[in-house]
């Protein structure tokens, strides 16, 4: 997917008036990360420069009175377009709260939940939508590769940062690079974000030695991949649950390397989360990579080994700037 087509792609899923605004904005900007639609609230987009309100013609504004206010009809129309007019085919997606679009963009949506026996049966009256633009930034992980791969093996690696700092983008590129280096990678892509799979076909490049299991809960997926695809590496996004840890242990016992991401601002925060702390304590991870935005999104702020020793400290360099 090139940067030139993602604009048309994304815009075609938006309600008429929103299309005008976002379309106008995209004519002048390339750094869109998220589109936020909230009922009766101003239209908001997030870029690498921060978030901003938009007018109907797509101009950035700080003046609330000039901003375009998103209506119920805008949200309804967007949901219709996002679902290709087939809400009936997306009952599962409504249950889990997001849809992956062709091109790998992810649409999160929340509204009123309908429960059945205490479980989410479906969601109605979607009033909040978040469209995250999937971006493939080739080479973003080149800097990281020497820390992860040596001539013999792949280090078990945990990439962490607060949300929206480019973890997924970094992991995706790392997977691609490792596959290029001859490693067989099994990707467990529970939320379709790594591969952007649309009907089972990855829309984003994960390399030629990569197998993707999408939509599967991570723990089950890791075990399944271990059994079936004979990988050198298992890669997955956003770990943190207890059964994730058990599955990761299983993979390591089988001699397979694990590369994963987690939400956390700092090492201290990881240590406060029981499951992650436990993995750390047992020295399962040999590389801990902290991402930040000190010099642009996706800056590799620090790489430490499993004992907390900094292999390379400080700000390495801006690696995650979005190509223009």
């Amino acid at each position: 997917m090139s940067v030139h087509t993602f604009k048309e792609e994304v815009v075609s899923y938006l309600a008429n008036r929103l299309r005008k605004s976002i379309g106008g904005f995209l004519e002048r900007n390339d750094d869109l990360i998220e589109i936020r639609l909230r009922v009766n609230q101003p239209l908001l987009v997030r870029t690498i420069r921060g978030d901003t309100l938009l007018t109907l013609s797509g101009e950035e504004t700080a003046n609330l009175a000039r901003a375009y206010i998103v209506s119920v009809a805008d949200l309804e129309e967007t949901i219709q377009l996002v679902s290709k007019g087939s809400l009936y085919a997306l009952e599962e997606e409504f249950k889990r709260g997001f849809i992956t679009l062709e091109g790998g963009h992810r649409v999160g949506m929340v509204g009123r939940v309908i429960l059945e026996n205490g479980q989410i049966r479906t969601m109605r009256d979607i009033s909040f939508i978040n469209i995250r633009i999937a971006r493939e930034i080739r080479g973003v992980a080149l800097e990281l590769l020497p820390y992860v791969l040596n001539s013999y093996s792949v280090a078990n690696t945990l990439i962490f940062s607060s949300p929206g700092m480019g973890k997924t983008t970094m992991l995706r590129d790392l997977i691609r690079l490792l596959a290029e280096q001859g490693k067989t990678v099994a990707v467990v892509d529970e939320r379709y974000e790594l591969s952007g799979s649309y009907r089972g076909v990855p829309m984003l490049n994960l390399g030629m030695r990569t197998d993707v299991l999408s939509g599967c809960p991570k723990a089950e997926g890791i075990i399944l991949m271990l059994r079936t695809m004979n990988p050198d590496i298992i890669a997955t996004d956003e770990i943190g649950r207890e059964d994730d840890a058990i599955a990761i242990q299983e993979a390591l016992n089988a001699g397979v390397s694990v590369i994963a991401t987690a939400h956390a601002n700092s090492l201290k925060e990881i240590e406060e989360r029981p499951v992650l702390a436990n993995l750390l304590k047992r020295k399962y991870f040999q590389r801990l990579v902290r991402l930040g935005d000190s010099r642009g999104l996706g800056t590799i702020e620090a790489v430490t080994d499993g004992f907390g020793k900094e292999l390379r400290g400080g700000k390495i360099r801006v690696t995650g700037s979005i190509p223009r």
Binding site: S12, L14, A15, N16, R19, E77, Q80, L81, S83, K84, G85, S86, L87, Y88, A89, E91, T122
Partner: protein, 174 residues
């Protein structure tokens, strides 16, 4: 002279009969077209219910079953949706119907029933889709019944009227 008159009269009676025939045929056509659309909708809801196929594909699949007006409307709707110009199924269905309806003998009330489906097309879960489609199909069936009854009397009436009108014209002109 007499021969010419005879031939002329035959021509007048013949043309009037054809006209009557054609007018009568509109009754048959309306029933056929309604049945066509009913079949298309039945196949479409099956695709939606069991196949859980996205709407554009479901429309195309259902449209392939039998050529006719139903097929044309479904294909047209799918085309509009696949153009990705941001048309919702509601707009696409309305536009397709309005375009295709001009080539039919359907009555306004028939079209209204079909336009009624636009509000819900694709815009709800399977259970609700099923309900809306059933309702539309039921209403179409009432129209088909009405059209069949009109056909039974109307076709014959217009055929007679055509022939008799032709004869009357000849008699009047002598």
């Amino acid at each position: 002279m007499l021969q010419g008159l005879f031939l002329g009269s035959l021509l007048v009676i013949g043309s009037a009969s054809v006209l009557g025939w054609q007018l009568g045929d509109r009754y048959r056509k309306r029933r056929q077209q309604l049945e066509d659309i009913r079949l298309a909708l039945q196949v479409l809801i099956t695709e939606i219910e069991y196949g859980q196929v996205p709407l554009p594909e479901a429309l195309q699949q259902a449209a392939k079953v039998r050529p006719g007006i139903g097929s044309k409307v479904l294909f047209k709707t799918a085309d509009i949706l696949l153009e990705k110009t941001g048309q919702t199924p509601r707009d696409a269905w309305k536009e397709a119907l309005n375009q295709e309806a001009t080539n039919t003998v359907l009555h306004t009330e028939d079209i209204d029933i079909l336009l009624g489906l636009s509000v819900s097309l694709g815009a709800s879960n399977t259970k609700d889709q099923l309900r809306y489609f059933k309702l539309t199909i039921q209403r179409l069936e009432r129209m088909i019944e009405e059209a069949s009854m009109a056909e039974a009397s109307g076709v014959r009436l217009f055929r007679y009227l055509g022939v008799l009108g032709g004869i009357l014209l000849v008699l009047l002109s002598i």
